[in-house]
């Protein structure tokens, strides 16, 4: 594809054709795609890439996906994509793309829902809202392992926990639809039921930021709980995952 994308120093704004280097199945509904764009620049944890699909007739569909990998993984970005039934782009990623394929991307973008090394940090994610938070957690583990950062992660069942094998003592998983009495293996800290105010109060910090990401209902509910536990609005950064397909 030499010469197809003229890449300049303004590369983040330009569409590039990235190679799909590796696809990892995370859960029945999520896969992680490791992409290698020809011109890569380091991202801030929390940033996203745009992807664009083009049909032979010129029809195009675009979506944004959060980056899951640490910027220390030079030259690549990993996007974890939730498969939405009836979706247009996520189903293509899940059902069509194979390793070695090419996909058009541009990024990284946005600089508000990003972690720049502040401490302490509370991360609260629901479902695939954990993706940009995992980027923060991974980057912190590799750059500042002693920096106080805690993840509260709400998922429906054990099978739907993304990155399960990477969750350590710094993460608590709340399973909202798991049956009681089923042994939960492989997760160091787990509770049944939703994230509740007492948990946020116990795991939150007296200072620093909270990053909250998930569906609108999840984000609104967690934000209100954080306000009630003493977080001021300017300490709460939210990203609401809309219905993207």
């Amino acid at each position: 594809m030499d010469g197809l994308t003229a890449v300049s120093q303004r590369a983040p704004g330009r569409w590039q054709i990235a190679e799909v280097e590796r696809i990892r199945v995370e859960t029945p509904r999520t896969k992680t795609f490791r992409l290698r764009p020809p011109m890569w620049i380091p991202h801030l944890p929390g940033q996203h890439y745009d992807v664009r699909l083009t049909a032979p007739d010129g029809y195009r569909a675009e979506r944004s996906y959060s980056i899951a990998s640490s910027p220390l993984d030079e030259g690549v970005v990993e996007l974890t994509v939730d498969r939405l039934d009836g979706g247009e782009v996520s189903t293509y990623f899940h059902d069509v793309l194979v390793e070695g394929d090419q996909v058009e991307v541009r990024g990284p973008f946005a600089s508000y829902f990003v972690w720049r090394g502040e401490e302490p940090v509370l991360l609260v994610g629901g479902g695939s809202g954990v993706v940009p938070l995992m980027c923060m957690l991974r980057h912190r583990r590799r750059t500042a392992p002693d920096l106080p950062m805690r993840l509260l992660y709400s998922a429906r069942t054990r099978r739907e926990v993304i990155y399960a094998d990477e969750l350590g003592d710094d993460a608590i998983v709340a399973l909202t639809r798991e049956l009681e009495g089923v042994p939960i293996e492989g997760l160091p800290r787990v509770q049944l039921g939703r994230i509740f105010p007492g948990l946020l109060a116990a795991e939150g910090f007296d200072s620093g930021l909270a990053f909250v990401c998930g569906s609108d209902g999840f984000v609104e509910s967690i934000s209100q709980m954080l306000l009630a536990t003493g977080y001021s609005p300017d300490r709460i950064r939210t990203e609401r995952f809309g219905p993207t397909g």
Binding site: G13, L53, A55, R63
Partner: protein, 205 residues
Amino acid sequence: MASEEPRFVSRGFIGKPHGPGADRLPPGQYLERGFPVLTAGPTPHVEPSEWSFRIDGMVDEELEWSWDEFGQLPAEDVPCGIHCVTKWSKLDTTFRGVSVDLLLEAARPQGAFSMAHSFGGYTTNLPLAELTGGRAWVVTEHEGAPLPREHGGPARLLVPHLYFWKSAKWVRGLRITDHDEPGFWEANGYNNHGDPWKEERYWTD
């Protein structure tokens, strides 16, 4: 956005049937039937009794309307489509509110730029040229009902010809200036102008 050539085609991608309305969508947008919510922080809770709308800065006359006073101004229905930078668009939806032309006329601005300010601290910048000529409103109703809180109620700016982050929720006023400054998203990687038909999403677009 300039078209680049030769066009890359995604192997095996056909896309959904390009149904009615597809030709009314700006590039890169998809049609959404619902009304998703996007907010950078917790949703502010603003009672109409504490709401007011103020025009200040470089104006001949600083003005402020309380909720009740604002309700006395002539309102109009605004049928429009809205386009969020996160890729969804909603077509054929109707808001109701007061034209910004009417509000500015009374204040007589002396500058050509403005910053919209919201309860909760949100800001977005708009040249007056984008706010005038029957293209911007301060709306208090959506589909015949009071504007829901999560969508900016009691009142939001509505500038449907630009990406929807310019339509500031929980708007409390416009500050008129003689120079342009980036607002909240504009300082955080998003385009200063935000025309969806030119796909001006990010700084470098």
